[in-house]
Structures are given as C-alpha cells and as structure tokens.
Amino acid sequence: MNVEEKLSLITKALDTEPGALKPETKLGDLEEWDSLGVVSLIAMLDKHFSVRLHPDTIRALVTVEDILARMEERVEKQ
C-alpha cells in the first residue's frame, strides 16, 4: 500500500476533506481530531493493519506522519 492509499484511509477515517491531509499535517490543527475521529482511526488500523492504538500511543501521535508510521508496522491482513 503506497502513501496515497494510506492517506486516503486516514482521510476516510477522520472524515476530512479529500486531499487536505499531508504527512506533515498537525493532528491538533484538525477539528476532526476529536474522540470520534480517534475511534474511527482505531477501527481503521485494527481492520486493515491489525494494529491496535492504545491511549498512550494516541497521546504520542502529533502529525499524520505518526499515523502513517503505525501503518507500516505490520503486513496488511488479507
């Protein structure tokens, strides 16, 4: 999965405008980065990457790049 595809998954999860997210985008600047946005992100990472985001990890996420890094940790589940 390339970066564009991953960004598209994050865009869908956070419900942001298409094309608005860049790796350097600060999550704190997004009004979509709220508890429901985080919940959607948890679901997306669980479903597509078998990665579980726990509260401590979530607090450490600063930019979109930090999410992309989590998406590289495992091979996507078929």
């Binding site: 508890s35 429901l36 985080v38 959607s40 948890i42 679901a43 669980d46 479903k47 726990h54 509260p55």
Partner: protein, 335 residues
Amino acid sequence: MKINWVSYFLPQNTTTNEDLAKEFDSGWDSKKIFRKTGIRSRHIATTETTSDLSVEVAEKLFSESNFSREKVDFLLLCTQSPDHFLPTTACIVQDRLGIPTSCGSLDFNLGCSGFVTGLALAKGLITGKLARNVLLLTVETYTKHIHPQDRSVRTIFGDGAAATLITHNDGDPCKIGEFVFGTDGSGAENLIVPAGGMALPRSEETALETTDEQGNTRSLNNLFMNGPAIFNFTLDTVPETVRSLLAKAGMEIDDIDLFIFHQATKFMLDSLRDKIGIPDEKFYFNMEDKGNTVSATIPIALREALDEGKIKDGDKLMLVGFGVGYSWTACIVEW
C-alpha cells in the same frame, strides 16, 4: 420460562442533531453527527425521574399485555440514575404501581450490560423456584449526569425505559438459554461520574468546570467517557464473548437468527459486526431516533424487531450487553 412481553417508553422532550449543531457551532453539522453516530435524535428526561419513567413503562406493559400486576412476584430495576441513594427506587416503584407487597424488589447498578444480566437474575430466581413472574425494568436518565457543553456524550446518549416480563408456568420449556459473563474493573475510570458517591461527595470543588482539548466542558459531577478506551475495550472483549457463548451453546453464527447488541453507536456496532463476521441481515440496528439509552437499548431494539416482524416463533436470538464497569454479559434466547 420465557420472555412474555416487552414494552418501552421514551420521555417526550427530544434533542435533534440540528439542535446540537446550533448549540455547539463547532464545524459539526447535523449530517456529520448522523454519519458519525447513526443517531438523528434522542429523548431527554426533563422533570421525569427514574421512578416516573419506570411507572410509565410498567403501566404500558400491563396495559399492552393484559398481564395482571397482582401476579408479579419479583421486581428488578436496573439503573445508574436512581431517585435517591436510599430507599431503593424499585420499592418506590412497587408502591406506585400497586404491585402486591408480597413481591421482592431490588435495584441493581449496571449500565449497558444491565438488561442481559437482569435476564440472568430473573432466570436464577425462577429456576430456584423463588419467583414465577419477574418484572425487569431497565430505566436510565443518563442525560441528567451529562454537562450541557459536553458534545462527546450529548451526541450519543438519550434517556429511555424498558419493561420486560419473564414468566414461567409448570412444564414450560426454558427459552432463556446459556449465558456468558464478564467483569474488568480496571476500566472503571473510563466511563464514570467521579463525584457524588461516598468516595468523593459533591462539593464546590467537584463542581468546578474544566474544558478539555476538544472543547468539551464538564465537572467531576458529570459523566465522563473516554471514547477511544471504551472502543478498544469492546474490540477486545465482544468478539471473544460471542465466540465463547456460541461454543458453550454448541452453536455457530449461522444457527442464530438475529443478533441484538447493546446499541452503543452505529460506528461501534458496524466495527463489531465486521470483526465478528456476522451477516448484515442478521444484525439488528435501531437507535436512529433514540440514541444510546444504556440498559434500555436491547429490550427497546427487541420490541422494535418484533413489531417489524423480524423475529418469528422459535427463532434463536443472541443478546450482548457491554460497557461501563467494565461489565459484559451475553445470552441466547429462544423466541
């Protein structure tokens, strides 16, 4: 032994997504709230207390079912918003309903797992020959715990009441089947009203309001929900609970005609359904005009599914409640 009747009652006042979008003015329009939660509107108790809603819903059940209140010999009331610390709200309700004084009554404090756990208590009372006709009331006015400026929970929770009658006649087959229970109090702080009990009585200090980084305001007297932590809990717990109940009952997903889960949010239910692999047509969703009414969601959904003709005699249902505590309970019911 069987579930003889289910009725529900919702307070008249409502809050729609349009109301919330107007109040919060924070980039969330009404469509976005619906997309995120699957909820358009919630019913809100204003002056009504838990005993008021309990009386309304029980009267509705007696009237719809023609079942005589004289025959109720145990009253179980599940709530986390009781009228008082004491006396027991169920006792007040017994008197207001005119149920015989020979009836046993108790409140039990559970949230989203309360209905299914209540069925287990009713089954235990009947199986132990301690009662024959149990009235299980699951009644919640959670919105009274919620700060008006806390969007994170105001979008989700609504108030509601359900009454379920469990009856037994000699020789009847037992249609309330296997159960699986679970408890993990390590998650207590993730869904909590911190102040107001004996550990932290309400004071000027507990009434101090703080605003979190997402702009939600609350005090220690209010409901707090750590949404991401609760979501992780359900992903960790619910699929395994469903699997272990199926194994205990010697069944497979295909053997269940309808799954009725606690109606938490549409997004959570979709995620769980997908993860467990339950076919869409076997998975019931009904919260669009009610929101999450805590322990009342499963019986309300059950009644709506019955009214829609989605449940036939002999159908096998799986009911799964999970949430605050953490606490979870699942069971199989034959209709």
